[in-house]
Point group: C2
Chain length 476, copies 2
């Protein structure tokens, strides 16, 4: 997909015009993209969208039509428009790999480059990373709730626009939901596509049994019958059993049945018992209807017998705490080599200045102990004392036996990718592995354990110094 450079907020362009006019546009700058709170009040997030973001940056340039539109707005000077005609992204990008488990407060993407180019990409990067990271996280929650059952994403019809459905399918795959009904996502991203049929299929035939028979004839080895059109237990189930027997006589197996209404947990037990009793233990039960991680978890707790969860609306729109948006922000952290800090009304939430690295402390068994944000060139060793960014007098020591690994690496340099892009499968595997390495309780859906994200001594000292400086300058 190609993104127009005009997919941005007007203020990016007005700021650029100002920087250009002042001759500030090429002064070296660094911005951090991060979110403050884990989505869904959960214990983690799954980073996604990087490949989409890098493709956007590589292709960034203004067409003649786009420049003509900007000219017609009559707010930009000719020399600035001429500058835009040659505008490309030539900076560098530091980021975790897609699928990495990340946490609120950590710099995810750091953009370095001239002030203008690094500022300009704010809106598009936020748009891409906010949504895909949110959807990957939602998918991980749903997949973890479903346990060994399969989850199928089929939210396209309720997604927020066509790309909402497409990006959600991509991100959901990274988060662990490895099949989709979205055929375009299948073609574009190689995601396995799956589906059953609609109630209208049943209604287009004289009766339900005729509709089932016809579908089974068409797809004898992959047939999933929707059994709730008229009455799941009185009519759909007996008709599906009839078709299962007929298929067997012809050497095929009914793949499954889908239940889309009613008490899914209760119905799944009844349907399972009936197929087992009739000698069809291999028929899968698919359930759908406004599912999410909470519904799935409670149905499993009461002994539902569901093999495949079809999850649509609430996955594709990332419904839940937070209202369908990840609150990612993009803040200037360095300019001309000088660290920059943004205060907020809550002093403990001041940004983390300067260019930084993110280290993850691993126990000898590979499990995650804590994350540490440090200055880029600061030496950090196991045993170091680290600080709580929300309460700088709180500190802990990194265990001596911990191993420190960098969460991020430079993935684009001088506007060109400098590492190969991992395929989606590898990103999904990474997420799946990392989620199992979190401390106990981080995966809990409600009131999870909060993973520790600390800052280094050097960063803590610099931040306090800049905070004092700003407060004495502006708030006296």
């Amino acid at each position: 997909m190609s993104y127009s450079p005009l997919l941005t907020d007007l203020y990016e362009l007005t700021m650029l015009a100002g920087y250009f006019d002042q001759g500030m546009h090429e002064r070296p700058a660094a911005f951090d993209l991060f979110f403050r709170q884990n989505p869904f009040r959960g214990g983690y997030a799954v980073f996604a969208g990087l490949d989409t973001a890098l493709s956007y940056l590589e292709a960034l340039s203004f067409s003649g039509e786009e420049l003509a539109y900007l000219e017609n707005l009559r707010i930009f000077k000719p020399d600035f428009l001429a500058y835009l005609a040659d505008f490309r992204f030539t900076g560098s990008i530091t980021a975790p790999p897609e699928g990495a488990v990340v946490f609120g407060g950590e710099p995810l993407i750091t953009v370095e480059g001239g002030l203008a180019e690094a500022q300009f990409v704010e809106t598009a990067l936020l748009n891409i990373i906010n949504f895909q990271t949110l959807a990957a996280t939602k998918a991980a929650r749903i997949k973890l709730a479903a346990g060994d059952a399969t989850v199928l994403e089929f939210g396209l019809r309720r997604a927020q626009g066509p790309d909402g459905g497409l990006s959600a399918a991509r991100a959901a795959f990274i988060g662990g939901v490895r099949s989709t009904s979205n055929v375009l996502a299948g073609m574009r991203y190689g995601i396995p596509v799956r589906g059953t049929h609609a109630h209208s299929w049943i209604m287009a035939f004289p009766d339900e049994l005729a509709a089932f028979r016809c579908y089974a004839n068409e797809f004898p080895d992959s047939c999933v019958l929707l059994i709730d059109t008229y009455d799941t237990l009185k009519c759909g189930l007996p008709n599906a059993l009839t078709v299962a027997r007929e298929l067997k006589e012809r050497g095929h197996d009914l793949a499954g049945v889908r239940i889309d209404s009613g008490d899914l947990a209760y119905l799944s037990r009844q349907v399972r018992a009936a197929f087992d009793e009739a000698g069809f233990p291999g028929v899968k039960i698919v359930a759908s209807n406004e599912l999410d991680e909470n519904v799935i978890e409670s149905m499993r707790r009461e002994g539902s017998r569901i093999d495949i969860y079809g999850v649509g609306t609430r996955l594709a729109t990332c419904a839940g705490e937070g209202g369908g948006a990840l609150g990612g922000v993009y803040k200037l952290v360095s300019m001309d080599g000088e660290p920059k800090l943004k205060l907020t009304s809550d002093v403990a939430k001041a940004t983390l200045p300067d260019r930084k690295k993110v280290l993850r402390a691993l126990a000898p068994d590979g499990s995650f102990i804590l994350d540490l944000i440090a200055l880029r060139d600061e030496e950090i060793l196991p045993g170091a004392v680290v600080f709580d960014p929300a309460n700088p007098v709180q500190h802990v020591r990194i265990p001596e036996q911990a191993r420190l690994v960098e969460l991020r690496s430079m993935v684009m340099r001088d506007g060109a990718r400098c590492v190969p892009t991992p395929d989606l499968e590898r990103s999904a595997d990474l997420a799946s592995q990392q989620l199992q390495l979190l401390p106990d309780g981080c995966l809990r859906l409600v009131n999870p354990h909060i993973y520790k994200v600390s800052i280094s001594s050097g960063l803590n000292t610099l931040r306090l110094k800049l905070m004092n400086h700003i407060q004495s300058k502006y708030r006296t």
Copy 2:
């Protein structure tokens, strides 16, 4: 924008393959697209997305690459793939104009055509209409809450993907939010684009006053200064006053200031008083930060002095009751000229069979009395008795003095548009006018008056007959 035909659920294609194989694909069918509950537990919805949907239908065809992908799935037969190569939408579409105020339970779009083509477009139509109608409705709620103040949409960075932002800006315009920060929405849809600057602009300069001065020099006649970077009242406000005076000396007017944090209602009163006292009553106050219709309404109630509300995340993602999705569905209502009905576990929620018209009963002053869904060829006159679809024994009479107008018209015939497309401005005007014609209490944000949507005697009788038929056939 062009939509790939693969932007669909796999099951549409498997059903089509089945219909094609059975020779059923050209049998005449009609489907209704509708939602059951007004979004946000509100009193209405604003219909949007039709033009996008018609463009999709007009352009619908499979490319060689798309057909090759489908072939590689190894679930479709060669003759069906050959059929898809020539597949076009040749049916008809009946719909209200964009901007029309509509209600839960009413058929919005009716698609008539061959069974295959009418079935196939389900997913894409739902995707387009669900989101744009939801966003237009959210925008209407926000605009109505804001009263005479201006609302600016700037949710792109938190929208659900790039198209989430673009479709939201388009739909929001129809709903009454007539400016956006989204430059691409400006170019593509002619929506006025607006913006200020970011905190990073301030931080890129030695101090706040220098940053303000520079921005004012760049845009002396359209300068809106963000005054909360360090401290709104102690620092941002006095610096903005300085710049307002300096601009005035040079013959320009400071356009406004923006407040993006803190108690917006309180701060707006302080800032208003300071500018008024200094002789700048024309400086506008822009407020932003997690706004929606509820926050705006309560701030206005406590006497805030805000001229322009910048609304981002919660508009672009349609946050609120319902989790960011309109639950639109798409149901077969007629085949081979025979009416079709879908039962649900709640009998009162059975679908409305057959091809229908939607009539709106208007009082002599033009205000809306009730909507009535009737069979397409049924004659309805003022004075007719109409029924509650959820409780068929409840009935009322249409007032004798009422005027009945059709809500919908045929907008596409044989696959081609048959009415000119109104521009976005006219759609927005229509929404604005119709919202004022609703009965008292329908516009209330919480627990609104529920507008009456009735069914005709003919439709009621047909529906009861089909319900009895299905129940005796399948549920005994």
